[in-house]
């Protein structure tokens, strides 16, 4: 009960902040941070729970964005439809990639995700309908009351997506599906011999993960009023989606949230004050440090501290 009360409270908080006379810059930054919460949470469903590393979160994210763009340009579709479609297409992409490679060892799935990123980026660069390499400008529709600006509305939308993705992650984690995924991660062969339909579960996790990443990407074209391959398929999304859960802690749904809030906030500060390359370098260094020295992430360190202080 406490959990659902918190979820409701957070939603109300997001709405309140969006309707209050808060500084506009806050919404630009918060949108990005929440986007990473969704990406990190989505990544963890396959990466943390099942142990299959996705190096290509950027592809799933970008396909969500491009699906939204196509629907908007072709049909003038509303945002909700764009997001649903983005999720559906990216989910399908996850299913397809999984079907192709989840029968093989983990590293082949990881390499396949890199391949998918490259191939899709090349396709988008050569597709003139969505602007090709130079990109496409988009005109936002008029903002609906009670929101003052489109960005404020997008902030609330992303907040809802973040809450939804956390709920999905929590459900998967606590259910028998989660137990099966953990068994797969610990010892896939033993899991099979214990009756776990490993391929089906992996495909499920991969599809859900992809769908959520697509949902995170779908509002992007409206946020920027612009879309282009280079920034949509940016390596930053792929690395962050991986680094944030690994740093926050992969065993529990709170880990990616912590990792995303921490790192995305650092990113926002560093990009503004120093440079975007240093910012990305910091993520990489932190990833290596945590992977080597603190494999259970911030959550794990916190738990250990709790236990030792008793």
């Amino acid at each position: 009960m406490k959990y659902w009360a918190s979820i409701a409270a957070l939603f109300v908080l997001a709405l309140t902040v969006a309707l209050a006379p808060t500084n506009d810059y806050f919404f630009y930054a918060a949108f990005v941070v929440l986007q990473f919460v969704v990406l990190a949470t989505a990544w963890n469903i396959l990466g943390g729970y099942a142990g299959y590393v996705n190096f290509g979160a950027g592809a799933f994210f970008a396909i969500g964005a491009y699906t939204a763009t196509v629907l908007f340009k072709w049909l003038g579709a509303p945002l909700a439809v764009q997001i649903a479609a983005g999720a559906a297409v990216s989910g399908l992409l996850g299913f397809g990639t999984g079907l192709l490679t989840l029968r093989l060892r983990g590293i082949f799935f990881a390499i396949a995700t890199v391949a998918v990123t490259f191939v899709l980026e090349t396709l988008m660069i050569n597709w003139r309908y969505v602007g090709g390499a130079t990109g496409l400008q988009l005109v936002r529709p008029a903002v609906m009351p009670p929101f003052e600006s489109y960005t404020r509305m997008l902030f609330v939308v992303m907040a809802i997506l973040a809450l939804v993705s956390v709920c999905v992650a929590r459900y998967v984690q606590d259910s028998w599906i989660g137990r099966g995924l953990r068994a797969i991660r610990d010892s896939e062969e033993a899991a099979e011999c214990s009756g776990v339909p490993t391929l089906k579960l992996k495909l499920f996790a991969c599809t859900v993960s992809g769908a959520l990443m697509g949902a995170a990407g779908a509002p992007m074209p409206m946020y920027l009023a612009f879309i282009e391959p280079a920034s949509s398929f940016s390596l930053n999304y792929s690395v962050s989606a991986l680094a944030m859960p690994m740093i926050g802690g992969t065993a529990h749904w709170a880990g990616p949230v912590i990792g995303a809030l921490l790192l995305a906030s650092i990113q926002q500060i560093v990009t503004v004050t120093i440079s975007s390359e240093i910012n990305v370098l910091i993520i990489g260094v932190l990833l290596v440090l945590f992977v080597v020295a603190a494999p259970d992430g911030v959550l794990g360190l916190f738990r250990r501290w709790l236990r030792s202080s008793k």
Partner: protein
Amino acid sequence: MIFSFDLLTEALLFGVLLGCFYAAVSIGLSVSFGLLDVPNVAHPALMVLGSYCTFLLAERGLDPILAGVALMPVFFVLGVLIYRFYYESFEKRGTEAGVRGLAFFFGVAFIVEIGLILFFGVDQRSVAAAYIGSSWSLGDYRIPYRMLVAFGVALVLTFGLTVYLSKTFTGRAIKAVAQDEPALRLMGANPVRIKQWAFGIATAVSALAGAMLIIVSPVEPAMDRLYIGRTFCVVVLAGLGSMTGTLAAGLILGIAESIVLMFLGASWAPAVAFGLLLIVLGVRPQGLFGR
């Protein structure tokens, strides 16, 4: 886009040279991933690092190929250190390490790429030498000398490594460790030492591959991502652990890319390696000559 046999032959010719180059560039990965099972996705990044080091040495007047050779011992040590670190942090701890080991190498690749951007900027760098810029006229075709040089070095490298692995004691020990580590332990050899040595060799080879890379074309820091596709495509298509397979797979990729480049243009060529990789993974994941 006119389809003519002349163009096709030129594409094939170029493809063969390119293919041998790709084989040479992938052979280090054939050893570290194919034989040793180390998920070394940082291999292309280290190669690009080798390219930039070659660039620095070439600026001081050293011939690029000699620079590449000179870098080999340095990169050997680097490889040993990286493997040692990887072993102590991950391999020793068992199966859970799979995800973390992968994330580790991904992080390393990433740090190398960003480090290069910070140090050298995003612009392309290239080197100059007597054989770069001019071509050899063979009938109606012009073959750039630098491609021939890369081709030559590639053959020497591939041949040398294959001979090393089958004829020398340490070479065969490396192959043995790949097939049956417990048996090797029982014979008194230390598998960790052998793997360390092998990884060092693989990295040293990457240094020379990096020199070839910058000879063949200008380099930029983000190239490692493109080469993840090319090297893994070659290694997987070859079949893990097969050295001769690497040459065959390299040729297939080189010719495929060359034909796409000739008839569809440069914007499609990078996707060939990744597309081919996806096809191989889906249709025949053990590759052509898989173990």
